[in-house]
């Protein structure tokens, strides 16, 4: 097996002293930031992006991978002990996990979450290691029009699946697309929406938008809610371990969660919201302890946590093999690659084998490190939750401003951060999901490039846009997804009338 050899080379890369250190630092920092309430993996990576500015690409990306997994572990800890999930993927974990913690079973909840994440993460990373090269081999021949159709499909699913109503998801997507328009057109140099500002010619810095919409938007929203009490952190009294029956009830949900989470990460389903919810629903249906659901059923933690982690690894498949991010977190990882002038896509595995396989290997290592670090250090992470909230928000705000400034050393970026922070507040206030905005912002310019590329290569012949089997089948799927529900409703109405 070729992939196996490459993976072993990857381990050699990851096991060098320097890279191991960056991996360890990444898991630590990721957990540290992920534990902080309200900070999910996407924001954690975005906040820590400047840290890698003076680090070699392989080490930096290994660090990101570790931050990625670390932030997810940290997030579940907060969901369970504090009921304040940092991101949509942990909302479901909080549902049962927090109830378990309140019932004095915090240790078991944390353990099933950590081990479930480890199991799911390891299986899913294996699937990634063997799946990404296969997909990349196929993808080499995909033409720009094919990419365009894939992106339109992703826009449609991300825009409609997330949030409380379809229209609000689409608004978010549209806002992202508009922000992505700002700056000089790549081909012609024509200026768009720059208001005559030289700083805006190269577009709005993605990292600034991500940091501002998550961190500043969050702080502003919390400020608007007036009363901020100290958190009631549930302390971990029981031994941080699971009983035999806990294990018996957990292992099937772990595997089922993996099976649900991974494929939904590969296809553009917009992140971990959908898979964790599906996993929860499946466990509720299959459980022998249905009565415990809503009062702290361990299956309700084990399944969604596994789904969440498997989903994260799944999202790396299209990211590495196609260069298409399917979740906000994957989008931030794409930005990290772009910072090093590395464009993920079908060529990545052949042009940057050291980086890619080093990264995949470090996901395995990071996952194992997290299991080892997380449970014994749980008391330390809990202490973090006891930082007085005023200082915490002061720190997050200042750190976010640093992140927005450092990339370009530009106060223009800071002004943008303030404006986008305000937008983030309105998004939260008016129930709009932020993921479609991030996806629109990052994939919008990519989609435009592919659109123009297809037409420029064909020298203006529009039929190229729907030529070929791939594009035709994707537009067919899209058509069914959009029209299907209407037909379904119409039939139901007819049935009711009869």
């Amino acid at each position: 097996m070729n992939s196996l050899n490459l993976l072993l080379d990857g381990f050699a890369t990851a096991f060098t002293a320097t890279n191991l250190m960056y991996g360890l630092a990444g898991t630590f920092l990721g957990t540290l930031v992920g534990v902080l309430p309200g900070i999910g993996p996407a924001l954690a990576i975005a906040l820590l992006l400047p840290i890698t500015m003076s680090v070699a690409p392989a080490s930096a990306l290994i660090m990101f991978a570790s931050i990625y997994y670390g932030a997810m572990y940290g997030g579940s800890t907060t969901s369970i002990l504090l009921n304040t999930p940092g991101e949509s993927g942990s909302v479901i974990t909080a549902l049962e996990g927090n109830k378990m913690a309140k019932a004095g079973r915090a240790g078991a909840a944390l353990a099933t979450a950590a081990i479930g994440s480890f199991v799911a993460g390891t299986i899913a990373t294996l699937l990634l290691a063997f799946g990404a090269p296969v997909l990349a081999d196929v993808a080499v021949k995909i033409q720009p029009a094919g990419y365009l159709s894939l992106m339109i499909l992703a826009f449609a699913t991300v825009g409609t699946l997330l949030g409380q109503s379809m229209i609000r998801g689409l608004i978010s997507l549209a806002c992202g697309l508009v922000i992505g328009l700002v700056g000089a057109d790549l081909q012609s140099g024509a200026l768009r929406l720059t208001f005559g500002n030289l700083n805006a010619v190269d577009g709005i810095e993605t990292v600034t938008v991500i940091v501002a919409i998550f961190a500043l938007g969050e702080v502003l929203y919390l400020a608007s809610r007036h009363k901020v009490d100290e958190w009631a952190v549930i302390s971990v009294n029981d031994k941080t371990w699971m009983t035999k029956s806990d294990f018996k009830r957990s292992w099937r949900p772990w595997l089922r969660g993996t099976a649900i989470g991974f494929p939904l990460g590969v296809i553009p389903a917009g992140g971990s919201e959908v898979p964790t919810f599906l996993s929860y629903a499946a466990e509720k249906k299959l459980s022998k302890h249905k009565e415990e659901f809503g009062h702290g059923a361990i299956e309700g933690v084990a399944g969604p946590e596994a789904a969440n982690n498997a989903n994260a690894a799944g999202a790396l498949v299209p990211l590495l093999a196609l260069g298409l991010p399917t979740s906000a977190t994957a989008a931030v990882v794409l930005v990290a690659f772009q910072m090093y002038n590395i464009q993920p896509g079908p060529m990545l595995l052949s042009t940057e084998p050291v980086i890619v396989w080093g990264l995949i290997a470090s996901l395995f290592i990071g996952n194992a490190l997290l299991l080892l670090l997380n449970l014994p250090l749980i008391k330390f992470w809990v202490k973090l939750l006891k930082i007085p909230r005023p200082y915490l928000y002061g720190g997050i705000t200042t750190f976010a401003l640093f992140g927005a400034y450092a990339l370009n050393a530009s106060t223009f970026d800071l002004q943008i951060a303030l404006a986008v922070g305000a937008l983030g507040y309105f998004f939260r206030r008016f129930g709009m999901p932020t993921t479609p905005l991030i996806i629109g912002l990052i994939m919008g310019p990519l989609a435009e490039t592919k659109f123009k590329l297809a037409l420029q290569i064909s020298n203006g012949d529009y039929s190229v846009l729907y030529a070929g089997l791939l594009t035709k089948s994707i537009y067919f799927i899209l058509f069914m997804v959009i029209v299907g529900p209407f037909v379904w409703n119409f039939k139901k109405k007819l049935a009711i009338k009869k």
């Binding site: 500015m53 790549l186 140099g189 700083n199 079908p346 060529m347």
Partner: protein, 374 residues
Amino acid sequence: MVKKKLASALVAALAIGMVVSVAPTANANVKAAGIAKAGDGCVAAGRVAAGRGVNGTSLTCTKVTTGTLAGSLRWWYPDLKPLKTIDWTIPGNPGGYSLTADVVSKALKTEGLMNEAHTMAYKAGAGGTVGLSAFQEIKGKPNAALITGIAMVGGIATTKSKLNLMDSFPVARILREYNAVVVPTGSKYKTINDLLNDISAKGKDIAIVGGNAGGVDHQIMGLLLKEKNIPAAKLNYVVLSGGTSVAAQLLAGGVAAGISGSTEFKPFVESGKLRVLGVSSKKRLKGFRGATFIEQGVNLFYGNWRGIMVPPDLTADEKLNWLKVMDALHGTPTWKSTLVSNDWDDEFEAGDAYTAFLKKEIPIVNAVIKDIGL
């Protein structure tokens, strides 16, 4: 007696042979004062190589005290003051510019030509003019430096910026990279002339992929057409985000040819996936398969150089010290191995020579940008 004489002659011959064979390795770098450059070896401390330093200054045979050359006698600047640090302005996102600034700084530090670690401020945007504009606002900072290159000269022309690179003080051009035009291995084009003739015949139906609009790739395509008297309007130049994307699109098919830095195509050429039609260097490159444009009768020599500028308000001494530091760096083993490991061509020019080069290069680039219609 005869035997003894023979024996002693043999010993003498052996001794001379040893001296002759050993001496050149031990003093491989020794250069006479008349041909010496900074960093070359020398034998008698205190001797002066008049006019062999940068801008007509003199080099002195000195025992170097810092870096990898420490302890050896070298043609050197005895009055050279190591830089305190360098505060770089990087006119782009992390990439070629920052890589160059980073390795220059690290080599300076290794060689004891700089004391403290450098800092970098990224000022990306508008073809490098955002960075240039920010840099030219810096006043009275002897450690400030800008990394620049042909892309910035092209960027100034493309954005019709009022900024003038020559408002800063040119220190040195430090390296050059060359570009290659490549096709998928199965392509019908065998030489650069095949491709250009086809463009001449079919115009915009022939799509060429390359790096950013107005960048060095685009300039070379424009110049190639000009050499063949093909109107610029016939060029269908498709902008992609860099060498890897160019290679990817070539392998995906649908385009005729691609252009990017030779180093970016190297792995694809070596694995036989892409074939080289021509290279923009004067002579064939080491470690890169492919004929030059010139060999094929297309008289074009053009490359992607990078250089260093500092603020114009430094004192004359400070400016001269910058030149000496870079000239000294150029002669060190660390810099030589840096060039090798990055596949860069040693095209070093400091001070007046670099200024003269820029004065010639800027109008050429401006004309090219105008020709390709930007």
